[in-house]
Amino acid sequence: MLEELNKSAAKLPSLSSFRSLTQLGRREMKLGLLFLSPWIFGFLVFTLLPMLATLFFSFLNLKITDGILSKPDFAGLANYQKLFNDPSVWSNSTSPGSFWVTVKFGLIALPVGIFLPLAIAVLMNNKHLKMPMFFRSMFYMPYIVPFVAAIFLWGGMLNPESGWINRALIFLGMAKENVPTWANDVQWVYPAYVIMGIWGIGNAMLIMLSGLQGVPTELYDAAKVDGATGWQTFWKVTFPMISPVIFYNLVLSIVGLFQYFLVPLVVNSGTGRPGGATYFYNLYLYKTFFTYQDMAYGSTLAWFLFVIILVVTITLFGTAKYWVYYAGEARS
């Protein structure tokens, strides 16, 4: 999907290309646009227009108090000024800052979200594995469990007293008074969230598996002839060959992590407990909209998030040429 983006990025239409269309070409264009029209209309109405409106709101004063929308007046850059000095976004002595909370959690969750599916996919791709279809199916299966149900399930597993995870830790020899209290402990709440997300690896695992299956066997044979060890083969052959798949998952994970908020919303009721550690940026954003009903400042937070994601995504695409290898294309 992403390679498509990279490839076609240069092919913007020029005016002359429209002029040089033949009669037949014009008919094809009309028909094509007709078929695309549901999406084009939807994009304009449900995406582009609201986006621009959000941008516009961010320069206003716009609040709902007691169900009544305030009269909008122009606020200039006041909302952005507020954003850059907001202790709920950036840390101060009383709050860890929702932006840094998001980044910190992302740094813990991202490696797990990439390497765990990759490791399982490598195992699934092992030629010695019996019944690969069965295992593949079973590792994917929890992905279909509805999100809210999965959270309560894992919440139960992570219950400090009755959950199986702490029971397992005690069984393995951990002292009863040392077991983590997971979602109630600043130290453990991020690992707890990561564990709660483990059931979501199914999709990434299958995507990586299809990448692994696409590596030509001749490459492995050649590596064997050259006397490469298993580890070397993985890093010198497998990894470059599946780097597009990893890149794809990496970009999607990062974009997803910046918007992370449903788990803290459900698990810690969106309060940020314990100690503001689960007050994620996107959570703060939605609370600004739906709880504090400050439409203008919420819009500012939303656009800031959009810009951050845009910058990070573009940076990632920029790094792609150094480590993502597309077969059939010379590496520059």
Binding site: M1, L2, E4, L5, S8, A9, P13, S14, S17, G25, M29, L31, G32, L33, F35, L36, P38, G42, F43, T47, P50, T54, F57, L123, M124, N126, H128, L129, S137, M138, Y140, P142, Y143, I144, V145, P146, F147, V148, F152, L153, G156, M157, S162, L206, I207, S210, P244, Y248, V251, V255, F258, L262, S269, N282, L285, M295, G298, W303, F306, I309
Partner: protein, 358 residues
């Protein structure tokens, strides 16, 4: 040493090693299902009791002199008239509790009568007997906000209506991207893909305010109508699949005078069942899973809540009763689980079609 082992033996060792590793990981990975089933079959009493087993059980007791008396594990050496070196532990019914000394009776040998043992009954463990409680399901079924069948119906209705929207619109749009060549098409395709990276927050306020203005809040419309205008994931999946279909059949049909809609309906769609099925099953899972959309658009309309919203509200009320939460969660995930069992190959296929590298 390696030389003495036959390659066949080594291969066998590898198979055993790799497959056992996969089994071990899978057991850990799926253990929460067992946790859920076990917890949902426990009584509240067992959950709060220390030392209770992890499987649904109740402490053993037995009928004695018309009373139900509790059974404890008693070291026989502490009992009157027993050999002090006796190391056996027997399950005995307690007839009279005492701090220093209690009176017991052997359920296996009631005729032998009561006897005393010098043990503190509080320090004794109780034997447990497997005993599932089905009441939790009944209680969850009856107390979840909205009735359970209604919630199921709401979720199904939501899934079906949006499914229709997704299938119609995404097929049309994917066909447009896959089969028509014109300047600007690739640019539009980039925009389509880019919408995947767009944070939802950046469009929510104007759309929410707009829906409020036109009176759509508390109705299904904000959730259903946008699905009729295609989405990037499903268009991408279908487009990838349509591109793999040979154009010769399209062209033959066109020579016979078929218009583009006829080609789509008669030529493309009949060849695309795997992709359409993949979109269908992915969407059902998505709809069953959707929480935030219904939460904000239907928050005032309780009668339209899907199961996800009701379940989280239920957790807010009964959070201290894990057995009810697990029973309700289990009932919630049965439908998607069944779908997966019946249609698992379409899930896998869908991801293969997306192919990523194409």
């Amino acid at each position: 040493m390696k030389k003495s082992l036959s390659p066949k033996f080594l291969k066998g060792v590898n198979i055993v090693f790799v497959t056992s590793l996969a089994i071990a990981l899978l057991v850990i990975f799926l253990a929460p299902f067992l946790f859920m089933v076990f917890t949902s079959l426990k009584t509240q009493g067992q959950i709060s009791q220390l030392g209770a087993p992890i499987w649904p059980a109740k402490p053993t007791s037995f009928e004695y002199n018309g009373k139900n008396i509790e059974v404890y594990k008693v070291p026989m050496s502490a009992c009157a008239g027993a050999d002090p070196n006796d190391t056996t532990i027997k399950n005995l019914g307690i007839a009279k509790k005492g701090r220093q000394e209690s009176t017991f009776v052997d359920p296996a040998n009631i005729a032998a009568g009561e006897f005393k043992c010098k043990v503190s009954w509080r320090a004794l463990e109780r034997p447990w007997k497997f005993s599932p409680t089905w009441d939790n399901y009944k209680q969850a079924w009856n107390t979840i906000p909205g009735t359970f069948p209604k919630l199921m119906w709401n979720t199904t209705f939501y899934a079906i209506m949006t499914e229709i929207g997704v299938l119609i619109s995404c097929t049309l749009v994917a066909y447009g991207f896959a089969r028509f060549r014109f300047p600007g098409r690739d640019f539009l395709f980039i925009i389509l893909i880019a919408t995947i990276f767009l944070p939802g927050a950046v469009t929510i306020v104007p759309t929410y305010t707009f829906y409020q203005k036109i009176g759509w809040l508390g109705t299904w419309l904000p959730l259903i109508v946008p699905t009729f205008f295609a989405n990037a994931y499903d268009v991408f999946l279908l487009r990838q699949y349509f591109m793999t279909l040979p154009r010769e059949l399209d062209e033959a049909a066109m020579i016979d005078g078929a218009g583009p809609l006829t080609v789509l309906w008669r030529v493309i769609i009949p060849q695309s069942y795997p992709a359409l099925m993949a979109v269908t099953v992915f969407h059902i899972v998505y709809a069953w899973n959707d929480y935030f959309g219904p939460l904000i658009f239907l928050s005032t309309a309780r009668d339209k809540w899907p199961i996800s919203v009701a379940l989280s509200t239920f957790n807010g009320i009964y959070g201290q009763q894990p057995q009810l939460i697990q029973a309700a969660s289990l009932m919630t995930l049965l439908a998607p689980l069944l779908l997966f069992v019946l249609a698992q190959r379409f899930f896998v296929q869908g991801i293969v079609i997306t192919g990523v590298e194409k």
